[in-house]
């Protein structure tokens, strides 16, 4: 699918008027919109085959069965967090180069041309230009790929802290 850059601001303006999904399937799909890393879900490690294999290996340390299970789940949970950390780092949010580099002032005639068939007032054109400029500021504030991945990884610090604390507690509990 090709993106028409001239239509892009109009599409974004129209999207603002949307009241959200109406169908059940649409609502189900949009409920997953903010889901990025899935670290807030509680996976069932204990019934997984990985966990059983790990417990058997750790049992050779001479620890109790409860301690082995705690350590194995702690270790798997820590790995899950670190895998999400790596995924976030290696695939940062893409840069919208058109939005970042566009000249808003020079785009005013394009906006009026796009809006004029609907009989829009000059105020509408100004609103659209202001909206476009605010989006551009947001995009520029996010910076380049390194800034983006640093900001995204920064959000995972608390998951890493909790995972390592859980693992460390499990190892040192006996």
């Amino acid at each position: 699918m090709t993106i028409n850059h001239r239509r892009s601001p109009t599409n974004r303006c129209n999207a603002l008027k949307s009241t959200g999904p109406r169908s059940v399937a649409g609502k189900r799909a949009s409920s997953q919109n903010s889901r990025k890393h899935g670290l807030n879900s509680a996976p069932d490690f204990e019934s997984s085959s990985e966990c059983r294999a790990l417990i058997d290996l750790i049992a050779e340390e001479g620890l109790s069965a409860f301690a082995c299970a705690d350590i194995a789940t702690g270790l798997l949970n820590y790995r899950r967090v670190m895998d999400a950390y790596y995924d976030t780092y290696s695939s940062p949010e893409p840069i919208d180069e058109f939005l970042r580099d566009a000249n808003v002032k020079a785009s005013n005639p394009i906006f009026s041309e796009l809006l004029s068939p609907s009989g829009s007032e000059p105020q509408d054109v100004r609103d659209m230009a202001a909206f476009f400029a605010s989006m551009q500021r947001q995009e520029r504030r996010k910076g380049g790929p390194v800034s983006r991945r640093s900001a995204d990884n920064h959000k995972l610090i608390r998951y890493q802290r909790n995972a390592i604390a859980r693992l460390s507690r499990a190892v040192r509990q006996d």
Binding site: R149, A165, R172
Partner: protein, 212 residues
């Protein structure tokens, strides 16, 4: 019955401990590297850490491999701090040159990257020097301004590095705890054996002392 562990590694519960240890190692030390990173460097770091283990039990190896990954992340984030500065320098330079259009911006970024690495072509070096002169800036001025501009993101990367240090402290304490436990168990076994031998010697002596 083989267990399917992450990343396609199979661990059989009935296999001997040495084999399990070998199977577990790639699962927990799974080097998830970026395309430009060397696996040999990662593995040599891991091997040097493993060689310092007095008692390389599977759990200790698993924890040491996590420690090695933390060191790797610190390296990555340290490189990122410099890259953040480069990004900010390119941004400021393109603003100063009133050259904020798609083609000019990316061209300037690439040229600046080459210029800072010392591998810039003549025309790239000329472009950078011309833009710097036009903006009445030196490279060090630009770097200072870029540092100010990117301070928010540099602070974030510092937080990420700090987090890795904290994680390493947790892992180190856990490894020490395992080591201490195993040494304690050994010591108790030895004391028990010594007591048993004393007891048996006493028993022999008391049998000898009995009047016939």
């Amino acid at each position: 019955m083989p267990y399917n562990v992450h990343f396609g590694i199979y661990v059989d519960v009935a296999m001997p401990v040495e084999d399990k240890f070998k199977s577990l190692l790639p699962f927990l030390s799974s080097p998830k590297l970026l395309p430009n990173e060397s696996e040999a460097g990662f593995q040599s770091g891991l091997q040097s850490l493993l060689s310092e283990l007095a008692n390389p039990s599977p759990l200790a190896v698993a924890l040491v491999s996590q420690l090695n990954e933390c060191l790797w992340w610190i390296k990555r984030h340290t490189v990122d701090k410099e890259l953040l500065l480069h990004e900010a320098m390119a941004r400021l330079l393109s603003k100063a040159g009133s050259n904020w259009m798609a083609s000019g911006n990316s061209k300037l970024s690439v040229a600046l990257e080459h210029y800072l690495e010392g591998s810039a072509h003549k025309d790239e070096a000329a472009l950078i020097e011309q833009t710097l002169t036009g903006a009445n800036l030196t490279l060090s001025d630009l770097r200072v301004r870029a540092f100010k501009d990117a301070a928010r993101h540099i602070k974030m990367v510092d937080d990420l590095i700090h987090r890795q240090h904290q994680t390493m402290r947790h892992l180190q304490r856990s490894i020490d705890s395992i080591d201490y436990k195993s040494r304690l168990l050994k010591r108790m076994d030895l004391e028990l054996a010594a007591l048993e031998s004393k007891q048996s010697a006493k028993g022999v002596l008391s049998l000898d002392d009995k009047p016939s």
